[in-house]
């Protein structure tokens, strides 16, 4: 099976719906340990991403993903908006010139998404950020594809890994953003950014 423009649009729509469903949860998490706007920026950012990608006639998936990232960043220049947008830009750069992706290329796409976020925010696994969900997700996805699993099965494995990664942030002290000021008060609470990361993989599992 190939990853096409249709898959990409479906993935964005699913992500947008999931952000909307979890809007209040994200707002509550972020109000406790951040500035409270995460639910708003993510719903607004993904709504914009869907609108942009659907309205674009771009057939090059790489360009489409990168431009979708830029559209998102323009809409929500908050930290998380910029990070997720950077993921799309990184993913797009990795598959530039292709109108559909093989399974390996689809894995590269999601790996590059993680790298795009890491390069922009300079965070690594264990820093209590969105990366704690994205990295396990893209690593598990790439490994499953390499083993010859179908995209559908690989996506479901990746979704579980991202979810587990997000849960693991409950035991982590923050190294980035406002979480730093809260020191060990954040323990026991899941990092709000990692929840966004897990939702992105949930969207992928729903659509691949």
């Amino acid at each position: 099976m190939a990853f096409t423009r249709e898959n990409f649009l479906a993935f964005l729509e699913s992500a947008s719906a999931l952000m909307n469903e979890n809007k209040q949860y994200l707002i509550d998490l972020d109000s406790a340990l951040g500035d409270g706007d995460l639910g708003l920026t993510m719903t607004s950012g993904f709504t914009e991403a869907v609108a942009f990608a659907k309205g674009s006639s771009e057939t090059d998936l790489g360009k489409l993903a990168a431009q979708t990232g830029m559209a998102m960043s323009k809409k929500v220049p908050s930290t998380m908006g910029t990070l997720v947008a950077s993921g799309f830009m990184g993913a797009g750069k990795a598959v530039k010139g292709k109108s559909e992706l093989s399974d390996e290329e689809t894995a590269s796409f999601f790996t590059a998404f993680t790298d795009g976020v890491c390069n922009r925010g300079k965070a690594a696994v264990g820093d209590r950020t969105i990366v704690d969900a994205l990295k396990p997700g893209s690593d598990a996805f790439a490994a499953a594809v390499k083993e010859g699993k179908s995209l559908h099965d690989a996506a479901s494995i990746a979704c579980d890994a991202a979810q587990k990664g997000s849960e693991s942030t409950k035991d982590l002290i923050g190294k980035f953003g406002r979480a730093v000021y809260y020191g060990d008060k954040v323990l026991g609470v899941v990092d709000q950014g990692s929840v966004v990361g897990a939702l992105i993989y949930k969207a992928m599992a729903q659509t691949l």
């Binding site: 960043s73 323009k74 220049p77 930290t79 950077s86 830009m89 922009r120």
Partner: protein, 334 residues
């Protein structure tokens, strides 16, 4: 704190409207966005220089856009980073074919957004380099100098890079000189009172009467410790020590000094401060080439000041001497 404003949410845009009305011959904006400020002075083939950051610090950042300094600035809300899109619009406007250098302070949001703008500019085939200023000695120890915040000393980075660009130096050369300036400038600040963000209407931290905080940042980031207020001379002695040790300095060195008021401190007091600075430098055999005393990087209505030293050599001196002209300040050839 009583303020002159209409609606708090219009604070930044109305300030900009006033600025464009006051200096129509020097600055304008692009893309119908008042927050994308560019210089009216243009020179074909010159390296473009851009900066950006939150409002609430005038003349930082936009006050340094003008002939001999910067070409453009993205203006954020009070203490908020501007967006990558705004930075990209400014970048496109000021690119004169020789590439663009971003110079801004070491703050997470600004770094991410400028990085993003650089990626977007790359896609449009505009070569962008970045120099991030972080010279606040007390914001991080020397072995973690990359974590230091950028404060008033960024003025020197603008000054040297701006003069080099005006002298039609290449992007490589302008970037090298900007980095060299960063390596040779150090700042220490102190606060006597907190500041109030217009939309919040209350101070984001406490600084009771009779207390002061040495090392406080320009958004009220914590300093070294809250302590009892001392005399001006004692405060300057405490502040100059870490600056002189950090580089370090030796007898015979030559410097430029910047004494910066944070917004609510009278200039009289800044001269009382400089008096002591000049005594200490004289005692140590450090020669002062030139001095800037005034408001260069403020923090709304915070009282307090910062002292910056730029260690000079002949090359830096050449560029420091060159003239500049912005809506906020003018320097003739020294």
């Amino acid at each position: 704190m009583q303020r002159l404003l209409n609606k708090p949410e219009n604070y930044v845009d109305e300030m900009l409207e006033g600025l464009y009305a006051a200096s129509p011959d020097k600055v304008t904006f692009v893309n119908d966005d008042k927050r994308c400020l560019v210089s009216k002075y243009k020179k074909k083939g010159k390296v473009g220089l851009a900066t950006g950051g939150g409002s609430g610090h005038l003349p930082l950042f936009l006050g340094y856009v003008g002939k001999g300094l910067l070409d453009g600035c993205c203006v954020g809300g009070v203490f908020q980073s501007p967006s990558p899109e705004q930075m990209l619009n400014v970048t496109k406007e000021i690119d004169q074919g020789a590439g663009v250098l971003y110079i801004y302070g070491n703050y997470g949001g600004d770094i991410m957004n400028f990085d993003m703008a650089k990626d977007m500019a790359d896609m449009e085939d505009i070569e962008v380099r970045q120099v991030i200023a972080g010279e606040d000695v007390l914001s991080a120890p020397k072995d973690k100098a990359d974590k230091r915040r950028g404060v008033a000393g960024i003025f020197y980075v603008y000054k040297i890079a701006g003069a080099a660009a005006e002298a039609m130096k290449s992007l490589d050369e302008v970037e090298r000189l900007a980095r060299k300036t960063c390596e040779n400038v150090r700042t220490v600040g102190m606060a006597l009172s907190p500041c109030i963000i217009p939309e919040k209407g209350k101070a984001n931290f406490e600084l009771p009467d009779g207390k002061m905080e040495i090392g406080m940042g320009i958004h009220g980031e914590p300093g070294i410790k809250l302590e009892d207020l001392k005399s001006a001379d004692e405060i300057v002695d405490t502040m100059l020590e870490p600056i002189l040790q950090d580089l370090p300095y030796k007898s015979g060195d030559e410097v430029s000094v910047l004494v910066n008021g944070l917004g609510a401190t009278p200039r009289e007091e800044l001269y009382i401060v400089y008096r002591r600075v000049s005594q200490i430098l004289k005692d140590k055999g450090i020669k002062v080439f030139n001095v800037y005393v005034g408001e260069y990087a403020t923090s709304m209505d915070m009282a307090g000041m910062s002292i910056s030293l730029l260690k000079l050599d002949e090359e830096l001196k050449t560029y420091l001497k060159m003239p500049f002209d912005t809506p906020f300040m003018t320097q003739n050839q020294l």
